[in-house]
């Protein structure tokens, strides 16, 4: 097994979450950054590496007064932060820097200081997708799903159950944006967005942020909280156009990223106590469970239906309530990592007993990119 090169020693979200009409996206980055540094017992002066997405690292350097020796502005969508963790671990191992701050902030709901969604780029999507009338992620991310459902015999009720189970987790979390219990019928009766997707199968739109502080594994014991070691990481990209996925029933980027992360950590799915899969829409946990090897192809919907991922189940999944019920600022991946850190530290609102290894798996774009982080509270 490879030596553990890095650990998360500071981790926090923005002070407020949900609707934050008085802060710009940039300030949400900074708020989260200061909270994460305080969590680690550090100040910006201790930081020599910065990474962020959705905002330029140059802005963070200026506003926080950091002169970095190492910078990463990788932006591949909502899983960018998983990639930042990976790159930061490598940079620390290489000696490029010793203390990395990774930030996210997005005024996704209030749009304070943010541009509009999308934009009229000159990319392939302008010629080969937008003329056919997709209206953002609800009509793009969802496009492969009917094929998945037909291939595997998955029903709309089973798709709805993903949202139902995650709402159960949200009900245990005071910071979750929506907490009231829902039923399969509630989901199926909610407003149609893009058949077969109803509103309750789609993620929230919120404001918020989060940040992480990483340092070398051997220093990890010098900080206030129990260290969260980065045991393995993975990343990949597949396509900017959802129409060009290799196979509509599985994500190549998920498979590649997951395989790397599990191999580097020296684990199999059976070793995982807690799992986060970025759920922009209800089908993402199905693809994630299968592409990461937790379920055979076509078995994830039944696995969730049978309550394996629900409170009390054997594989607690998206225990903050997920993008469907907890929060979703636009690039949710940071919040998946935040919940993995809380679970590994033993500090989560819906704490799972005995978590030693947690996996946070993120998606970027519409099956465009993936990043996977394996976290643990014990040195291997």
């Amino acid at each position: 097994m490879r030596p553990v090169s890095a650990a998360i020693v500071g981790s926090a979200e923005t002070t407020e979450l949900g609707k934050i009409p008085d802060m710009s996206g940039t300030q949400l980055h900074c708020d989260a950054a200061l909270n994460a540094l305080a969590d680690a017992g550090l100040t910006p002066a201790d930081v020599d590496g910065i990474a962020c997405a959705g905002e330029s690292p140059t802005t963070l350097a200026l506003l926080l007064g950091i002169t970095p020796d190492w910078v990463d502005g990788t932006q591949v969508g909502g899983c960018s932060f998983m990639l930042h963790v990976r790159h930061a671990a490598a940079a620390i191992a290489a000696g490029h820097c010793s203390t990395v701050l990774i930030t996210h902030g997005q005024s996704g709901r209030s749009r304070v200081g943010m541009g509009g969604w999308g934009g009229a780029g000159a990319g392939l999507n302008v010629q080969f997708e937008l003329p056919y009338g997709p209206v953002g992620p609800p009509t793009l991310f969802t496009l492969p799903v009917l094929r998945y459902m037909k291939t595997h015999g998955v029903t709309e009720e089973q798709l709805a159950m993903v949202a139902v189970v995650q709402r159960e987790w949200a009900g245990m979390n005071p910071r979750a944006y929506v907490r009231d219990p829902i039923t399969v019928d509630d989901v199926l009766d909610s407003p149609m967005v893009a058949w077969p997707f109803r509103k309750l199968m789609c993620c929230l739109v919120t404001d918020g942020g989060g940040a992480l502080v990483l340092t070398a594994g051997e220093r990890a014991g010098d900080f206030p909280h129990r260290p969260v070691y980065v045991l393995g990481t993975g990343e990949s990209v597949e396509t900017p156009l959802v129409s060009q996925m290799d196979d509509l029933t599985t994500s190549k980027a998920f498979r590649v990223s997951g395989r790397q992360a599990f191999a580097e950590a020296g684990i199999t799915p059976a070793d995982v106590d807690h799992l986060m899969i970025y759920d922009a829409f209800a089908h993402l946990p199905l693809y994630g469970l299968e592409d990461l090897g937790f379920c055979a192809p076509g078995e994830a919907a039944g696995f969730i239906w049978e309550r394996n991922t629900a409170p009390g189940g054997r594989l607690p999944l998206n225990t903050n309530g997920g993008g469907l019920s907890y929060t979703h600022t636009g690039m949710y991946g940071m919040f998946a990592i935040q919940e993995s850190v809380r679970q590994v530290r033993g500090q989560a609102p819906a704490q799972v007993d005995g978590v030693t290894i947690s996996v946070a798996h993120g998606v970027g774009g519409m099956f465009s990119a993936a990043g996977t982080v394996v976290l643990g509270n014990q040195l291997p």
């Binding site: 000159a122 392939l124 302008v126 010629q127 080969f128 997708e129 937008l130 003329p131 056919y132 009338g133 997709p134 209206v135 609800p138 009509t139 969802t142 496009l143 492969p144 799903v145 009917l146 094929r147 037909k150 407003p191 149609m192 967005v193 893009a194 058949w195 077969p196 997707f197 156009l241 959802v242 129409s243 060009q244 509509l248």
Partner: protein, 138 residues
């Protein structure tokens, strides 16, 4: 489907043959001269073998319905719920499109149904490839 408000593609040098073909009533794809791979979207090299010798040819226009959603939210240039679809072309590549001359309902839109290309005249320059049920539609 109002002409003025739908997004109108802007061809680039590497895609001009595709839009020229659409205006001429052809769905044009590219095939690698070296390895025979047929691919989409357009680019002047083969994504399978990186060969730069590639040829443009007119596809059959036959396809099957791979997947879709029926959008219920308002969109510029579209009226009422409409399907955004992925179709598998007979030659192999997959592309996004709309299905025309067909009810936009789950009952009418059956996966794997046979389709054929037709063209929607967005402007004098841009005719957009769309698909309808094979045999001319319902």
């Amino acid at each position: 489907m109002d002409r003025p408000t739908r997004m109108v593609p802007r061809p680039t040098p590497d895609t001009q043959h595709y839009w020229d073909g659409a205006r001429a009533g052809e769905l044009r794809l590219q095939r690698c001269d070296a390895c025979g791979h047929v691919y989409f979207p357009p680019r002047p090299f083969c994504p399978a073998c990186a060969g730069r010798e590639v040829s443009v040819f007119a596809a059959s226009g036959r396809a099957t319905l791979a997947s879709y959603v029926i959008n219920h939210r308002p969109a510029p240039g579209f009226d009422g719920p409409y399907a955004i679809a992925l179709v598998d072309l007979e030659e192999g590549p997959r592309m996004m499109t709309n299905i025309v001359d067909c009810e936009q309902t789950p009952e009418a839109l059956q996966l794997d149904m046979a389709l054929e290309v037709t063209f929607l005249e967005l402007t004098d320059e841009i005719h957009l490839p769309v698909f309808r049920p094979a045999g001319g539609g319902a």
